[in-house]
């Protein structure tokens, strides 16, 4: 697994709930059906209020942004695994937020779709959509193009599970299940 993710950020605020990440009208799509998985990606973060740019531009299959930067309580609301799946399917590889809702965090780990990294610093006020950053998962830092570096909370054991590709892949790799 590449431990450095370099790319542009998409910035949102506090309490971005799962309806904003993937609106309920798209929950007729089943994440385990490959073409519907891809379709979920095109709708990721499409529930954000008007005024936000699209994470995935109209007609595109993938997001030009690979890291979402958020405030507090990212992913609150529903238990729908479609939320981390849609972000992962869009090509987002990590979220850097001040804090997470419990089920969203767990679903990120269980699916292995993306890294939910916590930042003690409120980066959503310091960065703007389109800024280029480097996220170093090994060192636990986020560095801006201007060279400012911010420490992040270690992901701990959750990182190993996501590195392996999710709960089942990790459990097999570590011999917990056959």
């Amino acid at each position: 697994m590449a431990q450095r993710i370099r790319g542009n950020v998409f910035v949102v605020g506090d309490n971005i709930d799962t309806d904003q990440i993937i609106p309920a009208q798209y929950l007729n799509l089943v994440p385990t059906i490959p073409e519907e998985y891809a379709k979920l990606g095109t709708y990721a973060l499409s529930g954000l209020p008007d005024g936000y740019p699209r994470l995935v531009p109209e007609g595109a299959a993938k997001s030009p942004y690979v890291i979402v930067v958020a405030g507090r309580n990212f992913g609150c609301g529903s238990s729908r695994e479609h939320a981390p799946v849609s972000l992962g399917a869009a090509g987002v590889r990590a979220v850097v937020a001040e804090s997470y809702a419990r089920i969203f965090f767990r679903n990120c780990m269980a699916t292995g779709e993306l890294y939910p990294v916590e930042s003690p610093k409120r980066l959503c006020d310091l960065l703007k959509t389109g800024d280029e950053v480097t996220l170093d998962l090994e060192a636990g830092t986020l560095t801006t193009a201007a060279g400012a570096t911010y420490p992040l909370q270690p992901l701990g054991d959750a990182k190993d599970v996501i590195d392996a590709g999710g709960l089942f892949a990790f459990a097999r790799k570590s011999g917990m299940i056959r």
């Binding site: 609106p23 009208q25 929950l27 609301g77 419990r102 269980a110």
Partner: protein, 432 residues
Amino acid sequence: MGMTITEKILARAAGRPSVRAGDNVWVQADILMTHDVCGPGTIGIFQKEFGAKARVWNSERVILTPDHYIFTADAKCHRNVEICRAFAAEQALPYFYDPGTPSYSGVCHVTLPQKGHCRPGEVLFGTDSHTCTYGAFGAFATGIGNTDAAFVMGTGRLLVKVPATLRFVVDGGLPKGVMGKDIILRVIGDIGVDGGTYRALEFCGSTIRGLPMSERITICNMAIEAGGKNGIIAADKTTLEYVRARTDKPFTCVDSDPDAEVLSERRYRAEELVPYVALPHSPDNLAKASDCGDVRIDRAYVGSCTGGKTEDFIAAASILRGRKVCVDTYLVPATTEVAADLQRETIGGKTLAQIFQEAGCIEPAPPSCAACLGGPLDTFGRANGSEVVISTTNRNFPGRMGSKAASVILASPLTTAASALTGRITDPREFM
């Protein structure tokens, strides 16, 4: 040092004499619930990971309740119910509540209590954030994603972190016009939408003990709106009467030890509580209904796992009886049993259905989750424009009931009904 009720249930399920908040333990599930929105994805992962011929760990303990997208023309939604149906047949699941047949029930979180699947002391997982509802029965219940659910489906087990407890003690007599919904809106307003993240929210005190199961369900249902891992109310005589009438399966009640360690304890005097609302666009945007008389609404909605139970419709009917609504008023009974009660329960010699009809409400829809979470564009009651909706549902982040331009105000059935009469947020005591 004693244990909280949540710790005791998880210790039993982990096969250990004791656990403490913060411990990571493998627990044995008693029930796994899934529905038409998350069931197909869960089944897909289960079959991929355990094999096409794999059997669920215990067919009596996997409950399949299609309820979200049932009454829609959307072909994929029908396909998803069909995936659930085929799986239920293949696995010979005795508890599949099949749409379009007499076994159909409706909203999972009212179905499981009504069908006797909620029992004190047990561990329930469900692929829905409002699975915390079942804590009303003195059980540990929490929402999980498809991947975790597939793991439970195959093994019956899941790794959980034991949550620390936030205790809410409510004592005294609830004033007229104040419901369980008002208690939980006040709690969420006080601690915020992330104030309970990773925590058990335990409710106790004389007010809670005096509440019927329907109101306890409303309170525990919304623990997730404060980020809670579970909501819980210890079982008592009221619980046992409800449960014993619906199942003869054995169970063991537990309660917190007097010396159990909790993270915090908040105390409320019931007499000081009033009818509240959560204004757009967050469940913690608390206000007194009486302070919001200038907020106009153009739709009222009574339904969902939170506010679509028989008692919720009785409350709404008690306000609407003999009066006329002045905004579109949508009614969605949670389950077929609740729908039957609309024809059966009477106030002053009239059925609830007659009272709603005479008040000018839109004819009630068949039971399902309906517009609580927006859903497909043809969903009954879905907000498709810039409506301001007052609703007995549980969540009001932007776009929750459909359109991003709509606004949702959360309230009790009494407050929702009173507001339907005036077209503005209205304290129900004006009509009591």
